[in-house]
Each structure stands twice: as structure tokens, then as C-alpha cells.
């Protein structure tokens, strides 16, 4: 019997050396235990009498699918929930970080109790990621977590009470596939004065008006009706992947505001801008851009993907951006696969642009992907090449299927 034999070996007196590790300061022990998967950390309680409760004061608890043996789905859910409940039950002292993420995790009543327990134990960083299925309705005790600095929710339902005053210390908010009443989002954002990082993804038809004086990073992905950065003076990094359905586009036809200004008008400190899918299109809607009184002195990297070059308005957006960024270093542009243009590009316009004094004095890297060799694109590239004295790398990746135009393109350049 393997087990019995092993037990016999571990009688006292087998080891000549003294205990190597148990007398290290608790802070080191905790540092070691924190770097172990939670399962191993809890198992140390069986090592010796000194180790019995060493793990119970850990302030960081991170759970995932590895915590319990992988079994059939329904049983897995139950054993994971049980495991977490018992860990919490045995735990002593404050818990600063709690994170659970499992593709099989479903909503269940125990989880409400976890949140309640955490809200009483000074929770600072909370992350909940549920699996597909019924989304977890976050209980009201979450809003009592006064010390919360980071909140990340995936597949949950949030419904803050009317008198919710926000999280005073919240610095980072990440909501992915979260069901929230539309006005509640804006309220949450503006009632968290310390908010520095905001990430919202997979929202439907959201009209967003952001007041966040300390916001530094913004990440948006989903279907947005409107993005208005009303009060974000410190914004440094911004990434927007925006889907625009046709009816949203129509809605804009009637409005008279300039989306570009609304979105990018109040971000003087911006260093990095990244726009995907319909973002450029969104920006192009509104009043004529003309000469904008905006300069982005810190903007170093611009990434605009899926730009429809054939649309003159979108072209203008790109040009406007890059000409307003004197310190631009990197530019990445990709072309959307729209059918060939019907109009010829306005060559006069391009002639004027090329001969203008607009120089990109710091532009070093230009990367153009998915190019289809359209005339507008060619003009744009010529413009860039002609006005970038320190350009080091110009990388052009054509759209794969169009072999013939590729060659033509290269010849022209």
C-alpha cells in the first residue's frame, strides 16, 4: 500500500536538518503563498502545525478553473462554489483582492454571500467573470464596498440604486458584457472621481457622455450611438472600436454637432489614439471640419483601422488628425474593403496638400495595411512620402486578393 508506506516514513527523526522555512517572517510566507495557485496555498495547512493557519491571512484570493478537479459541468460548478465558500469561511483578516473566473461559473445564491462577506472585509480589487448562461445579478452589497479601487465584471447585471453615490476610490472600471440601465453607466462614471481607467465593451446602442476629470485610459468597444468626452482633460490613451448600424448613421444626418469635436475636442494630453471599425466614419459625420483649432502636441501614435479612403469625409478626418499632431511618430492605417471608387480623387486638392508647408517632422513609421491600390490611397501615400523628412519605415501591405493592382501600385510609387 503506497499510502501507508509513505506514512510510515514520515515518522519523526527522519530528518537531520532543522525546519528551513517555517520561521521566515510572515510577510515572506505570504509573498510565497500569494504566488502559488490558491489550491496549493490552502493545502499548506496540512504540512505541519506551524503551517496550519499560515494561508488564512492571505489578502489576495484568485480563483479559476484550476482550483478544483475538472469534472462534469454541473458538479464542477458546485465544487468550485463550495471551495470558494469554504476558503472564505476559513479566512481571517482583510481581503484586498478577490478574483474568480471560470467558463463554467453560473449565477447562484452563494455568490451573493461572497460579495456580502467581501464588502465587510475591505475589498479593494474585485473581479468576477462568469460563463455563458444566466448572467449574475450583482447584489446591492457591492455598492457598499467603500474601498473599492478596481472593479471588473464579465457577464453580470448591474443595477445601482438611485441614491448610489459612486465608489470614492475607484480607479479602474472594466465592464464587459454587462447589462446596465443606460443612464446608470454615465452616473457611475461621473460619480467615481478618481477613475483613471475605463473599459466598456459589448454594449448595445449606448450613448455615452463621459465626465471623468482624472481619466487617463479609455477603451470602448461595441455599438455606440454617441461618444462625447465632455470632461476628460487628462486622457492619455484612447481606443475605440465602434460599430455603427445604419439607423445610427441616419440619426446623425439630422444632428448638427460635429462628432470629431465632441469626441476628440477635449483631449489635449492625448498620446495614443486607436480607432477601429466605424470609428473614423463616426468622426467624419457632422459639420465640415475645415480648419480645426485643435493641436495634439503629445499625440505620438495614431492607429486608424478600416478607414474608407473613398469617402472624402473620412479622408479629411485622417488628414485633419495627422496635420494637427506635430509630434506624431507612428501612423498605422488600414483600408476597409469597400468597392472601388466611383469618383476620381480631387487631384487639385492633393496637389495643394502636397505643396503645403505641412511637414511631419517626427514621423518615423508608417504602416498601411489592406491597401487595394485605389487612387485616393495612392495620393495619400504620395502625400505622406513627400512630407515626411525623417521617415524611416514605410510598410505597405496590400489586400491579399487583389494581385493585379498590387503590382500597379508598386510601380507607381
Amino acid at each position: 500500500m503506497v499510502v501507508i508506506r509513505v506514512h510510515a516514513d514520515i515518522q519523526m527523526g527522519d530528518f537531520s536538518g532543522a525546519d528551513l522555512i517555517s520561521d521566515l517572517p510572515q510577510s515572506i510566507i505570504e509573498s510565497i503563498l500569494t504566488q502559488l495557485p490558491i489550491r496549493d496555498a490552502v493545502r499548506t495547512s496540512i504540512l505541519s502545525s506551524k503551517w496550519r493557519y499560515k494561508w488564512t491571512t492571505l489578502t489576495q484570493l484568485v480563483f479559476d478553473e484550476e482550483c478544483v478537479p475538472r469534472n462534469e459541468r454541473t458538479l464542477f460548478q458546485k465544487s468550485l462554489v463550495n471551495f470558494v465558500t469554504h476558503v472564505l469561511f476559513l479566512h481571517q483578516g482583510p481581503i484586498h483582492k478577490f478574483q474568480i473566473s471560470a467558463s463554467y461559473l453560473q449565477s447562484c445564491p452563494d455568490i451573493d454571500q461572497w460579495i456580502l462577506f467581501l464588502s465587510r472585509n475591505d475589498i479593494k480589487e474585485l473581479g468576477l467573470e462568469f460563463g455563458e448562461g444566466q448572467w449574475f445579478r450583482v447584489p446591492s452589497c457591492l455598492y457598499n464596498c467603500k474601498k473599492l479601487t478596481q472593479l471588473a465584471l464579465v457577464r453580470c447585471e448591474l443595477d445601482p440604486p438611485i441614491n448610489f453615490n459612486g465608489f470614492i476610490s475607484l480607479k479602474s472600471l472594466n465592464l464587459h458584457q454587462v447589462l446596465v440601465p443606460p443612464d446608470a453607466i454615465e452616473n457611475i462614471i461621473c460619480s467615481c472621481p478618481c477613475l483613471e481607467s475605463l473599459s466598456l465593451s459589448y454594449f448595445d446602442s449606448l450613448s455615452l457622455n463621459i465626465h471623468a476629470p482624472n481619466l487617463k485610459c479609455l477603451y470602448l468597444e461595441g455599438e455606440f450611438k454617441d461618444i462625447w468626452l465632455e470632461d476628460t482633460p487628462l486622457l492619455v490613451e484612447m481606443s475605440v472600436a465602434m460599430y455603427m448600424t445604419d439607423d445610427i448613421a441616419e440619426h446623425f444626418e439630422q444632428s448638427s454637432s460635429c462628432n470629431f469635436v465632441k469626441c476628440l475636442g477635449g483631449v489635449p494630453q492625448l498620446e495614443r489614439l486607436s480607432g477601429h471599425i466605424d470609428f473614423t466614419k463616426y468622426l467624419s459625420i457632422g459639420n465640415d471640419l475645415g480648419r480645426l483649432p485643435l493641436t495634439y502636441n503629445h499625440l505620438k501614435t495614431i492607429e486608424l483601422y478600416e478607414v474608407s479612403f473613398e469617402d472624402m469625409k473620412e479622408m479629411l478626418v485622417v488628414l485633419c488628425l495627422i496635420t494637427s499632431s506635430p509630434n506624431l511618430v507612428e501612423l498605422h492605417v488600414s483600408c476597409s474593403n469597400s468597392p472601388a471608387a466611383t469618383d476620381d480623387p480631387d487631384l487639385d486638392f492633393w496637389e495643394k496638400k502636397r505643396s503645403s508647408d505641412c511637414l511631419f517632422n517626427r514621423l518615423k513609421v508608417v504602416e498601411m495595411t489592406d491597401m487595394s491600390g485605389g487612387l485616393q490611397e495612392m495620393e495619400f501615400m504620395k502625400f505622406l512620402l513627400g512630407n515626411s523628412p525623417v521617415l524611416e519605415i514605410m510598410s505597405i501591405k496590400p489586400f491579399v486578393y487583389d494581385m493585379e493592382t498590387q503590382l500597379n501600385m508598386l510601380i507607381e510609387l
Binding site: 500500500m1 503506497v2 499510502v3 501507508i4 509513505v6 506514512h7 516514513d9 514520515i10 515518522q11 519523526m12 530528518f15 536538518g17 532543522a18 525546519d19 528551513l20 522555512i21 517555517s22 521566515l24 517572517p25 510577510s27 515572506i28 509573498s31 510565497i32 503563498l33 504566488q35 502559488l36 495557485p37 489550491r39 496549493d40 490552502v42 493545502r43 499548506t44 495547512s45 496540512i46 504540512l47 505541519s48 502545525s49 506551524k50 503551517w51 496550519r52 482550483c67 478544483v68 478537479p69 475538472r70 469534472n71 462534469e72 454541473t74 458538479l75 458546485k78 465544487s79 463550495n82 471551495f83 465558500t85 469554504h86 476558503v87 469561511f89 476559513l90 445564491p109
Partner: protein
């Protein structure tokens, strides 16, 4: 006074081209070493000593290092400091150095951790504790005890407390059950007339079992749930071979009324909870099924006649084998056990799919 020597590596260096400064350090055994100033200043504790007390500038006024720092370890630490305080090293270079640096035997590593902590050299403490974590990860308790020379001084009772087994360690569970069985055996021998007591216990539980059985729904196809435990004990034993594994793996944490002293190991639960076996009604029959298995678990030790003993031994063997088999296979087995009297032999499935168990140190 706050010492920033850790932050800016070269900033505190006071290297005069003609004359290098040295700091004198004294370890607890009395030996004194001299070290280049910028290297020594990399340690916050030494840095502070120098700035606050002015010690260290000569042999007579050497800085006394904490007891945990012996000369050999000090040498190692100074090597570390010397490397990292040199400006202009790339991150990759530093990482490579760190990886090589911590390759040493465990005893040394522990001493190094302790010494680094004494000198308040946080980057080194982080590095060494990460290395220690890597050593501990994935090992069985026995292996860990051996590596770190930990005394196995928890009493049997303490080990048996499932308090410790909430991570589903099947080896511990096996141990629990073996101990429980042995204890029962001893009790049997000591007491001459204990049948009544046992029967009472059995009866009690069979009532509860009945209740839960009724409450939980009896649509299970397994056919292992029987009302009269004594009659079908043999079958239950065999079913328990496989099914208990399931219960152990999944329902070790089932709430249970406060068990009697001698039964701790049997049911693997100590939490005082609601008297109902299922703390909340479960929709899935699978969950019901598992909770009922918990019951059966407790009866196993009542029969200790030789035939049963053989059963027990075989059961433990099976148990050990099953530690290597797949969950789906076990499910199949349970489902197919049904009316059979003998356990279905499982195909040994040692592929990596049961990696969870192999990682527990099955050899």
C-alpha cells in the same frame, strides 16, 4: 530619512576616479568584510545605517549585519547587488542573471530569502520567494515536508479534520478513510457488545437517508440507493468504491450535522450546517445523486468481519487505481453498476487527461 538607493541604481554611487570608497560590514560570527560603497549602498538597510549613524567607514566601525546574514550568504547578496547596481544593463540581461542566480539548493535559498529580508532588499526577496513558490507548487505534502524539513507534527486527528482537505486531495481522503477504518477496528475489538450502538447509528442515518431520498427525488437510474442498508451493504460497498470517489471529489464539503467524535473521518465533513443534507435544493439530479453517496460513505466501517475486510482492502486498491482514471469513465461505471454485485473493472487510462491527479505525485 528615506534612502533611495534602490530606486536609482547609479545615483548613490560615489566613485571617485582616483579613490574608491569602501564600506566595512561585520557578520554575526565576527568576521569583517569590505565592500565597494556603491554595491553596499544597494541594500536599504546598509544605506540607512551609513546615513544615520555614519558607521561603516573603517574596520573598527564596521556595520553589524543582522543575525540572519552569514558570510557565505552575504557574498551571494553582494554578487547580486554588484550586478544590479551597474547601470546600463538591459532588462533581459537582468532577468537572465536572476534566473541563474537563484539556482541553488533549497536550504541556501531559504537562508538567502531570510538574509535579503534582513537587509530589506526587496527585489531579491521577491525573486527568492517566487523561486520558493515554484518549488512548492504542485508537490504533495510529503514532498514539501521532505524538501523543507518540516516536522510532521499534526496529530492524526488534526489531519483527519477535513478542515484541511477542502482542496479535494484524494490521497488525504484515502488516508482519512483508512485511519477511520482502523480506529473502528480497534473499537470493535475493545468493545464486546457494540452491535447495538452501531445499529442505532445506522438506523438513525437510514432515516435521514430516507428523508433525503424522498426529498431529493428518486428517479436515479443508478439503483444504488437502498433503504435497508444492512441487507444491501455488500452492494453498497461496491458501489461505494466508485461512487464514493465521486462524492469525495465533488462533495467533500457537504454540510452535515455535527458528527460524533469517532465519525470525523467517515464523512469528511465537520462544518456545522443545516441538518438537511443539501443546504439548498439542487435542481440537478447529479447533485442529488452525489449527496446521497455521502451517506453511504459513513456506513462502510460498520462491518468488519473478514469478508468485509477483504472488501475494504480491495476497495482501497480500486481507489488507488481510480486515482488515475477519468471522471467520465467513472460516471459510466457508476451508471452501469446498477444491479451488479461486483465492481466493473475500469480500463486504466493513464493518458494526460487526468493530469490533475498525476500532479498530486502519484508514482
Amino acid at each position: 530619512m528615506h534612502c533611495h538607493c534602490q530606486m536609482s541604481e547609479g545615483a548613490m554611487a560615489v566613485v571617485k576616479p582616483e579613490m574608491k570608497s569602501y564600506i566595512w560590514l561585520q557578520t554575526v560570527d565576527g568576521s569583517i568584510q569590505q565592500v565597494e560603497e556603491e554595491v553596499a549602498m544597494f541594500c536599504p538597510m546598509i544605506c540607512r545605517e551609513i546615513l544615520q549613524t555614519g558607521m561603516g567607514s573603517s574596520k573598527n566601525y564596521a556595520i553589524s549585519l543582522p543575525q540572519r546574514v552569514n558570510p557565505a550568504i552575504l557574498g551571494l547578496i553582494l554578487d547580486y547587488c554588484r550586478f544590479h547596481q551597474t547601470p546600463g544593463r538591459s532588462i533581459k540581461e537582468r532577468k537572465t542573471f536572476d534566473e541563474k542566480f537563484i539556482r541553488m539548493d533549497t536550504k541556501r535559498l531559504c537562508e538567502l530569502t531570510s538574509a535579503a529580508d534582513g537587509l530589506q532588499l526587496k527585489p531579491l526577496v521577491d525573486l527568492t520567494s517566487r523561486a520558493l513558490a515554484r518549488i512548492i507548487e504542485g508537490k504533495t505534502p510529503e514532498e514539501i515536508r521532505e524538501t523543507f524539513h518540516l516536522p510532521d507534527d499534526l496529530t492524526e486527528e488534526e489531519k483527519l479534520e477535513p478542515l484541511r482537505n477542502i482542496t479535494d486531495d484524494p490521497r488525504i481522503r484515502l488516508l482519512n478513510r483508512l485511519y477511520a477504518r482502523k480506529r473502528k477496528e480497534l473499537k470493535e475489538r475493545q468493545k464486546l457488545k457494540n452491535v447495538e450502538v452501531e445499529e442505532e447509528r445506522v438506523d438513525e442515518r437510514s432515516v435521514d437517508d430516507l428523508l433525503s431520498f424522498i426529498n431529493g427525488g428518486d428517479g436515479d437510474s443508478k439503483g444504488t440507493r437502498t433503504k435497508n442498508k444492512k441487507k444491501h451493504r455488500r452492494r453498497k460497498e461496491q458501489n461505494k468504491d466508485s461512487s464514493s470517489n465521486n462524492s469525495n471529489w465533488n462533495h467533500n464539503k457537504e454540510f452535515d450535522p455535527l458528527p460524533l467524535a469517532g465519525q470525523n473521518g467517515d464523512l469528511n465533513d465537520i462544518f456545522v450546517g443545516s441538518p438537511s443534507r443539501n443546504p439548498k435544493s439542487q435542481d440537478s439530479t447529479a447533485a442529488n445523486f452525489s449527496s446521497k453517496i455521502e451517506f453511504v460513505d459513513g456506513d462502510i466501517d460498520d462491518d468488519l468481519d473478514p469478508a468485509m475486510k477483504e472488501e475494504l482492502d480491495r476497495e482501497v486498491e480500486d481507489f488507488a487505481r481510480r486515482l488515475n482514471s477519468d471522471w467520465p469513465e467513472r460516471m459510466q461505471e457508476i451508471l452501469s453498476l446498477g444491479q451488479e454485485r461486483r465492481p466493473v473493472p475500469i480500463s486504466m487510462n493513464d493518458n494526460g487527461s487526468a493530469s490533475r491527479y498525476t500532479s498530486l505525485g502519484q508514482r
